[in-house]
Amino acid sequence: MARPIYQTESGARVFGILAQFENTLTLTNAAKAVRDAGFRKWDTHSPFPVHEMEHAMGIAGRAVRPLAYAIGLAALTGVVGGFLMQWWINYDYFIVVQGKPTDGAWEPFIPVTFEMGILLTAFAAIIGMLAFNGLPRHHHPLFNSERFLSTSDDAFFISVEAKDVKFDPETTRKLLEDAGATHIELVEE
């Protein structure tokens, strides 16, 4: 069955529904309600990370596991690559200093191996975080709502996308209202 296409009165496509909440407690409770209603394409918005929101949203573990693997892989690449680089360079261009043993001596390579591991981990952490979040992104329909801009200040929101199979302008609005939303609006695509 094809999903219905929702439009506003002006004829623009509806991106979704945006509900504002008063504080972190009502936001968390509403998030639990939306989660339990079985929505998939929805999100919360808060000026700062809210404690244990990942459980209220039902994304704990699932959302970060691929990121953790990516970072772990980068760390391993940094350590192995860093060590091999030094080992090969020492083999390719052999410098005798102070008569110190060179064949099989791996100990002098540890500091740089460590630093290379750290370097790649750091890059993977920030680039991976952005990539899994779908950022950088030039625009997002939510920014069409002027009210939404205050989420960077002191406002708390839940957005439910119209693409979600469970989305329905009336019932979703009712759900969010019952969860304690103080203001609800439709956001245009």
Binding site: P47, M57, V112, L149, S150, D154
Partner: protein, 542 residues
């Protein structure tokens, strides 16, 4: 218990429970209200009952409103001091390292002293942002952004010196393993090369960490500029001369907020404060904190290997790595205090976000790390005696401590006085709660930490094994202007940061404020039934 947690008042007020809760009548014993003695109480991290919106307004206001006149004067002064450093570096490159006071015996002097001095200062930022993050020290949120910025600027200053001291600067690329047609590679078994990797990794990771923290706050600045544009509240950008002489004000053909929305918008990467994003963000931040902790410890350890792996008496010491790390944290916190205490007076409302308790906690860290450094100074003498190596004994007694034989005894005692004696003032509560005294001690510590590196490097080098080679070091005017200029570069960068970027982590600060956790709003009824509910805040002192 008839005391009330100051946090609770704010939480209740934000939950609409105590609209009349006044923070006006604070016991003078509590200072600005943050100096609560009882360890069972959590003193407020943000004073005067500021809410989330106030924090946004205060911090964004620093970049959005015109800065005070002090800022232009300070920037003018700092940039003027920085200017000669560039000339001196240029002069050095076209002439050679002979323009410094180096000689055959003392072939490292102010250059490496300045390098270690600046890289050490950089350590406080990462300590605050990484180690205190892992230790869940929530007070770090008031200082971490500016400390991280300071870290990066200090590393910038540090990076200048090893880069130019190599003599032929155009060969500095050979420090890195870049394939070349001579088929030569750097020596990875040299601590100097470890240092290249440690410092460049440190600079990169610090910058990444700093930028990652900035993303949400840049988004806040972006949204504010965008909203002002939407509402038509923006005005065309005006350029006026920052000097009290008559000069026409140039009105630009575009709005300042357009520029803000574009630049901050570009840098904010489209951050939209999503819960899913925050979750990944927090995990990535935690991982960065986790890896930065061993990183910050490794960097100064590796810097100390530059010295410790040599056989020079005074350098050849196993205590160097921990001793250098403690000294770095010590010097770094001193610089944080040196910058933030005046800033706290100059920027409006900053005292609400950076409280006396923050300063007291940092003073305590100065005391602890100062004691560690003092212990290391003592341990060096013990090992010199216990090790029964006559050269090492002479390096410490004959070259440093004994005024009869040591030409640099005054540098040694300056170091001891500044680093070991002055922080002892912080045993007294009144002193460590007084910003002026903290600032003066921090100034002494900064001077002392420069002298520490000077003592380690120059006094050890100037009299090595053969008396026939002994030689004094005298800095030239190029040495002096380069060092003074590096302070100017540091201050210029810091002043630009204060003007154009959020100097507090807005999002992180909000996350530790009352009302941020869902639990703050949960037990309204319990609070009313408690007899604490109506007790005035001042009872927290008893």
């Amino acid at each position: 218990m008839s005391v009330i947690n100051p946090d609770q008042i704010d939480a209740q007020r934000l939950a609409g429970m105590r609209p009349d809760a006044s923070r006006g009548d604070i016991d003078p014993a509590l200072g600005d209200g943050s100096l609560v003695d009882d360890p069972a109480l959590r003193p407020p991290l943000v004073l005067n009952g500021r809410d989330f919106h106030d924090v946004t307004e205060i911090v964004c206001g620093y970049t959005e409103k015109a800065p005070g006149w002090w800022w232009f004067h300070a920037l003018g002064f700092a940039a003027t001091v920085a200017g000669p450093a560039q000339n001196m570096i240029h002069y050095l490159i076209i002439t050679g390292v002979g323009v410094w006071g180096l000689n055959n015996q003392v072939d490292w002097a102010w250059d490496i002293t300045n390098f270690v001095f600046w890289i050490g200062i950089g350590h406080a930022g990462t300590l605050i942002s990484a180690i205190l993050c892992l230790l869940k020290q929530e007070w770090r949120t008031a200082v971490n952004r500016s400390a991280e910025a300071m870290t990066i600027f200090a590393v910038v200053c540090a990076g200048i010196f090893p880069g130019i001291h190599v003599g032929r600067v155009w060969f500095a690329w050979m420090l890195f393993p870049i394939p070349n047609y001579n088929w030569i590679w750097p020596n990875f078994r040299s601590p100097l090369l470890w240092d290249v990797f440690a410092v460049s990794t440190y600079a990169t990771v610090s910058a990444l960490f700093w930028y990652m923290g900035l993303i949400p706050d840049l988004a806040t600045l972006r949204d504010r500029a965008h909203r002002r544009l939407q509402r038509g509240e923006s005005q065309n950008m005006k350029l006026r001369l920052a000097l009290p002489i008559p000069f026409p004000v140039l009105t630009m053909p575009f709005k300042g907020d357009t520029l803000r929305a574009y630049i901050y918008g570009f840098l904010a990467l489209g951050w939209r404060f999503s819960g899913t994003h925050w979750f990944r963000y927090e995990k990535a931040y935690l991982i960065l904190a986790g890896i930065s902790t061993p990183l910050v410890l490794s960097v100064h350890s590796i810097v100390s290997f530059d010295f410790a792996t040599s056989i020079l008496p005074g350098w050849h010491t196993t205590i160097f790595p921990p001793y250098f790390v403690a000294g770095a944290v010590f010097g770094g916190f001193a610089m944080v205090l040196l910058l933030l205490i005046p800033l706290r007076e100059l920027l409006p409302n900053m005292k609400d976000l950076l409280t006396l308790r923050h300063l007291e906690l940092m003073a305590k860290i100065l005391l602890v790390t100062g004691m560690m450094v003092g212990f290391a100074y003592g341990m060096e003498f013990f090992i010199a005696w216990y090790g029964a190596n006559q050269f090492e004994w002479y390096a410490f007694i004959g070259n440093r401590a004994n005024p009869e034989t040591a030409p640099y005894w005054w540098a040694y005692y300056t170091m001891i006085f500044c680093n070991v004696v002055t922080p002892q003032l912080f045993w007294v509560k009144k002193f460590r709660q007084n910003p002026i005294i903290i600032w003066i001690v921090a100034l002494f510590v900064t001077v002392g930490m420069w002298f520490e590196r000077f003592v380690i490097i120059v006094t050890s080098l100037h009299r090595a094994f053969l008396p026939g080679e002994w030689h004094m070091f005298y800095p030239t005017w190029v040495d002096i202007l380069t060092f003074v200029g590096s302070i100017g570069i540091f201050l210029t960068l810091f002043l630009l940061f204060v003007r154009f970027l959020p100097i507090f982590p807005i999002a992180e600060l909000k996350a530790v404020m009352p009302g941020a956790s869902p639990h703050d709003h949960e037990h309204h009824d319990d609070d009313h039934s408690d007899d604490q509910g109506d007790a005035p805040a001042k009872e927290g002192a008893h």
